[in-house]
Each structure stands twice: as structure tokens, then as C-alpha cells.
Symmetry: C2
Subunit: 210 residues, 2 copies
Amino acid sequence: MKTESKRGRPRKFDEDVTLDRIMLVFWQHGYAATSLDQIAEATGLNRPSLYAAFGSKKDMYLKVISRFADQMQAYLHEAGQSTSGLKPKLKAIMAAAIDLYCGKSSFCNAAYGCLAISTLTTEVADDPDFKTMMEHIVQRMDQGFTDLIRAETTGTVPEASVRFAAQHLSLILHGLSVRARAGESRAALQELAEVAVDRLAPEPASDSVV
Amino acid sequence: MKTESKRGRPRKFDEDVTLDRIMLVFWQHGYAATSLDQIAEATGLNRPSLYAAFGSKKDMYLKVISRFADQMQAYLHEAGQSTSGLKPKLKAIMAAAIDLYCGKSSFCNAAYGCLAISTLTTEVADDPDFKTMMEHIVQRMDQGFTDLIRAETTGTVPEASVRFAAQHLSLILHGLSVRARAGESRAALQELAEVAVDRLAPEPASDSVV
DNA sequence: CTATTTTTGTGCGATATGGTACAAAAATGG
DNA sequence: CCATTTTTGTACCATATCGCACAAAAATAG
């Protein structure tokens, strides 16, 4: 590992750019079906350099998953900032997620769904480290929705209901990812998501009923 | 391939039993991470016999996925028969699916989710045959819910709404599978599913509003 | 200019993989 | 009892895989 080196031959690659390229390879093929040669070709690096910089294939994958979770969280958070009110925010977040799942984002231009749901899910039954990572990912999604709902309802909804609704919304997101990778159109998914938010988001006790 | 042979050395294995064992191997490891040696060990057959009986690894996998879809459909249909009324039927189906996803069925005793969602989803981006199969699977789930809802509402709900609700329920099922494989408890999933059905199943125009 | 440090890249090696050739085995037909 | 048919199982092949050894390359420190 290096942190801030001055001496020695300089690197020919940018770490972030390379990680993004590695991400795309795993995103398309999944973990097991991806070979280090494919990664080497996609990044322009050779295997020893990859290994020196990012560790084993498994290390790379876990790094990339964590990175994706961070980027996704920021991306969805930003989408939520574009409007106000719980349901509008949730709908904006869902719409952004669907765009990403369908290849309409700067992350990925193919309809590969969510990196974690599409590729990590398969691996969790074999490797405890992957299982742990998957649990973290799901928990993070739940937590993200929980925080948003709590903030937007400010005490008018019991905490248990907040968490419950958050899990429902995560559930929807997982389903949307699966269907996106299965080839469903963006428009169809957007319709489904919009109505799902209307039905599953908590109502803050008294509000204008549409 | 054989259909009804009389001459020749008799087989030492039962085709259905063997296919079920192959299914379990793919279910746990996924397609790419499963080796023919693992299948050979799990079935007690050797690779040439496997190849002669079921074709290539890909052939086996597709056979197993189709078989699973058939078995799953029958299993869920039967679960729906245990009660009457749309929502009770849907809840019974969801409960049965969750049992299966969490390893509480005769199909599988581990929490591996849905075979197709957990393992096929990963592969669809690389192989058009897998993509086609995935589309079929999703369509079949939608169709199953569509038929049930239409039968139980008998014209009181417009066809478009029937199909839309069916897609919502499929979406929930996909999400439940993901969360089951991620380790979520059966009880938690059952709660989520029950409320989701209440919120997403269509109301037949005029009915007792809870 | 020399020593040191870090990255690069060729090439290797041990293993695993999917698929198949081929002979032995085990049944039936005549 | 012999020919035929089908399955079995050992052995094999070509290829792919991951990881690493090792020397050359490219920078800095003094």
C-alpha cells in the first residue's frame, strides 16, 4: 500500500479512475465470472500492478462495493435535495435510482441494476465476508431512508413506523434493481416506484389527502 | 438424449432427484462459481454421465431454472388455495414464498432466496440466453399475480390496474428474495409482506375500508 | 553520479475448469 | 451365447485462472 510517496517510479494510473473501471467490469460480469485479465485489460494495468495497488480479486471487489455504496448514497442524497416534502423527496430518490439502474447516469451506461444487488447477492452464500458486506449494504439503505423519513416527519410518526416504512422502500429499491437488470423499461419502473412511494411512505398523522 | 430405452446398461440415477441436487448446487454458489466437479460430487455422477444426460453446464443451469419456475409456480399456487379472498390469498402466497426464501420448505433448507433472482440476475448481462430466461421468469411471476387478481376481482378492477398491481407484488417478491439471502429474519419479512399486500393489492371498487 | 525506492511488465507455475475419447460394464434381442 | 445398445468411469486435453518472482525502468535523496 502507498499513501504519499515521493521517491520511486511514479504511477501511470489514477487510483480513482482505475477503481471506477474495475467497478464497471464487476458490474457487468459479476464477481465470479470476472477474471483479473478482464480487469487488467479494462484498466490498462497488468496483474502485478493491480495486485500491488488493490490486493487480491476479492479485495478489489470489496473495495469497489464500498466505493459504490458511498457514491450511491451521495448520489441519492443529492437527488433528494432537489425538492421538499417527504413524498416528493422519496420520489426524486427513486427516480434517480431507477435512472442509475437503467444506465442513465454517469456511473454506468447500461441497465445493470444496482452493483450490490446484482452481483453481491449471488456470492453471499459462499463467503462470510461477502455476507457481512451485504448486510452492511442493506442496513445502509434502510438507514438512509430512516433518516430521511424521520427528518421529514419530525416526531409525528413513531420510530418503529419510520423504520418499517424505510424497510418497505428498500424492498422496493431491491425489486427495481432486479427488474431493471431483467430489462424492464425505465418508464415502467418509474410508474411502479411513484405509486409504491404513495402507498408505502408514512403519512404524518394529518395531511392533505389526495 | 434418451426417452424410453429398453436395451443398454441401466442408469444408476433418477433424473428428477439428480436435477434437484444440481439445483441446490447452483442455488448456493450461483452459476459462474459452480464447477462441474461440485455437481458431480453432489449428484454422485461423473462428468461424462452428467454431460450425456443433461448437456453442458449452461444446459443444466437453464434446465434447472425452468424446473424451479415450474415447481415454484405450483408451490405458490397451492399456497393460494388454502384461503379465499384476494388479500388472504396474496398473503398466503407471500408467506409461502418467504418460507421458501428463508430455507423453510422442502425445496431448500438454507436462506438462499429465490434461485432465479439470487443467481440468474447476475448472469443476464453477459449471455443473451440467460437474459431471455430472466425475462420469462419475471413475466411468469407477473402473469401469476395477474391471473389471481383478475380471478378474485372478476371485472371490478380495470385490466391495466390488475397488471399494475401484479407488477407491484412481483416487485415485493424480488425484494423479499434479496433480503432473505442477505440474512433478514423470516418474521421481519413476513411483517413487511403482509403490510405491502394490504397497501398494494387492488381494492375491488367498493369494499369495507379498514 | 550513486544509492535507494517504488512501479512496471514479462513470464512462470500450480491449479482448476469444461469438455471429450475410449474402453469396460451391464443390460436386452435374437 | 453372441451382437447390440446404452451407461459408466478413468484418463486426458486444451485452456483459463490467480497469484507471484524477478529484472528492468523511472523517479528522488544526498
